[in-house]
């Protein structure tokens, strides 16, 4: 089939047999929810659809339903995601394997409906697994895989699958939609050890004193660590059943003998791969490493990659004010413990939907190769901002 990223999300949730869907409309997520409402209305998906009155309520309703033993799904974007922030933390603290699509979109003001990653990045402390997708196929596949990863006993954490606004959400690509039977064989029904039910007078989410709180957080930390291995294992299983995979936590493209590598996430990685091919054809030893899972962060993968490189360019489609791009900061932290540390530079690009063209990527590769030889003056550079002396187009 040929479909948009949003429809891929909807088909993913349908194939995963989500049982309770609570969602609130926001551009550019709306077609996910509309499609799911259609599936429920026609009976194709046997689920309860709750048209809640805010995103905060969407997540709160999912939390309650998941605690009662139902597999839940929701979708949002930008301001909807940030409105949910309080309850995102609740979902992970309650150790509920909720799966959500976030259509990553810029934050206001200024108002923008176009892609950037600030909304998603701002949730990196919430205890959610975060997957940045490059293609619509990956969106569908990752939703199904995420349920399996999250529902495993050693994990029990929620996950967000991130689609770039409009570039993935509203652009049609060929997507193979697997047979329901095949998905059922891969992903069994959700059956938690403990759920809220009549007959067991348990309280879920009680008050805890300072002398016991840390132990709960420690367990969640261990679960996030376990998620790293679980993601890899589940993807191997997925490959075995469906015949495809998406690169684990860090997808490496032509990195084996690279001297400089661009690290980035989302749909821009697809453009970057084309640029890598073009530059390789001219003899440049470049590669692309795509952060697919930002949480849990692929520290080990980055470390083993970095030790062989001269330079790493990290392209962040977001910015952490007062610091640097979040992905750059984490990549740099991973690299700190390497014996041999490549030169590193952060490129902030593509905010508010600003196009990241092949030309811009070429210039970034050019820049990092120069810097790898002589060192960086500024560690962080904003790309393609009008008024700055450097031209990127």
């Amino acid at each position: 089939m040929v479909m948009t990223g949003n429809y891929a999300s909807a088909y993913g949730a349908k194939l995963a047999r989500a049982e309770v869907i609570a969602a609130y409309p926001i551009t550019p997520q709306t077609s996910i929810v509309e499609k799911l409402a259609e599936f429920v209305a026609t009976g194709e998906l046997k689920a309860k659809f709750i048209p809640v009155e805010s995103e905060h309520s969407a997540m709160a309703a999912c939390i309650a339903a998941q605690t009662a033993g139902a597999r839940t799904y929701t979708a949002t974007s930008s301001h909807g995601l940030t409105l949910m922030h309080e309850v995102l933390m609740w979902a992970s603290g309650a150790r509920l394997p909720i799966v959500m699509t976030n259509v990553s979109r810029a934050m206001a003001p200024p108002w923008s409906v176009w892609v950037d990653h600030m909304d998603s990045i701002a949730q990196r402390d919430t205890g959610w697994l975060q997957f940045f997708c490059q293609s619509n196929q990956e969106v569908l596949d990752t939703i199904i895989m995420a349920y399996k990863v999250c529902e495993s006993a050693g994990v029990m954490l929620p996950a967000m699958i991130i689609e770039d606004a409009f570039i993935l959400s509203h652009t049609s690509e060929p997507v193979d939609v697997p047979e329901q039977q095949l998905v059922d064989s891969f992903l069994p029904a959700y059956s938690p050890d403990l759920k809220i039910e009549v007959g067991k007078a348990y309280g879920f989410g009680s008050l805890v004193k300072p002398d016991q709180y840390m132990e709960f957080r420690y367990k969640a930390m261990l679960a996030m660590k376990e998620a790293h291995d679980r993601i890899l294992r589940v993807e191997q299983e997925f490959k075995h059943v469906f015949g495809r995979e998406h690169g684990g936590l860090l997808e490496r493209y032509r990195c084996e003998d690279a001297e400089t590598v661009l690290v980035t996430a989302g749909s821009v990685a697809g453009t970057a791969k084309d640029v890598v091919d073009a530059l390789r054809a001219t003899g440049q030893r470049v590669g692309l490493a795509r952060i697919r899972a930002f949480r849990p962060f692929p520290h080990d993968e980055i470390r083993s990659l970095a030790s062989k490189l001269e330079g790493i360019a990290v392209l962040d489609r977001s910015y952490t004010f007062g610091a640097a791009g979040a992905m750059f900061t984490e990549v740099k932290a991973s690299v700190y413990s390497c014996q041999r540390r490549p030169v590193m530079k952060n490129y902030i690009a593509g905010l508010g939907g600003r196009d990241i063209t092949p030309k811009i990527l070429e210039r970034i590769f050019e820049d990092i190769q120069v810097i790898a030889k002589r060192g960086a003056e500024d560690e962080v550079e904003w790309v393609d901002v009008a008024g700055l002396p450097r031209r990127w187009r």
């Binding site: 046997k46 309860k48 309650a64």
Partner: protein
Amino acid sequence: MGKTTIPEDEFTYPGSTGCPGCGANLVMRYLLKGLGERTIVSIPACCWAVMPGYWPSNCLKVPLLYTAFEATGAAISGLRAALDVKGVNDVTVVGFAGDGGTVDIGLQALSGAAERRTDAIYVMYDNEAYMNTGIQRSGSTPWGAWTTTTPVGSSHGFKHETKKDIMAIMQAHRIPYAATVSPAFPEDFIKKVEKAKSIKGLRFIHALSPCPPGWRTNPSLSVEIARLAVDTRVFPLYEIEDGKVRITRKGKGLPLVEYLKVQGRFQHLTEQEISEMQKGVDDSWIMLLLKESSGT
């Protein structure tokens, strides 16, 4: 003799960490007597989030879901959806929230749940302020009351806004059943709970919940104050069923000052202010009688 006037089975354990004389303890006790064991209760941030005790203590004999503050309306929708999808249809879903978590921060989610006709009972236990955080005013604090954020003698000087009429708000949502209850009249309370249980859709119960530390009252008077509230008609007992008002207890019609004088939070009021309050109570009572007689 020796025969109780309300069901004997208890669904709460002793050892709740509510204050001595806590009206909310009585509200929960009567509610669960009316609903029985096949009940799941969702509780947001409020006194009752703390009263079951520190983990692993639970003073309820039914399952309890703790939620974020504003989320009760959404949580009951989620619980009901999960039960529905699993084919469980003989369980009562209850949202049990304070006045702050209902008329202020929780109003949006409650409105959503009502509009969606969520099959659940929403109980607002009304101690008329944010008591769990230390007696700050809420939209449900009555005109004239002292609270820590409407202290007396400041430029603001006690609460000058009238209490939000949550029953009117719920009536406007056209829900099938809403009722006011007072812990001083447990028979009326439980009868209403049993009736609510038998109806489908979003049912709303507004329970007055006297609070000794917040109202500055003697703990031994909590039931008497809940009685005076009804008898002075500051908190009349009535139902709204399918949009029609029915008063279930007319009350003695005592002067409001009988209710005010036993509460420290009203001690600063002048005679003028009290007579204004009395007029307000009288007007509301007349309105209620009119609603009842006109069949709306």
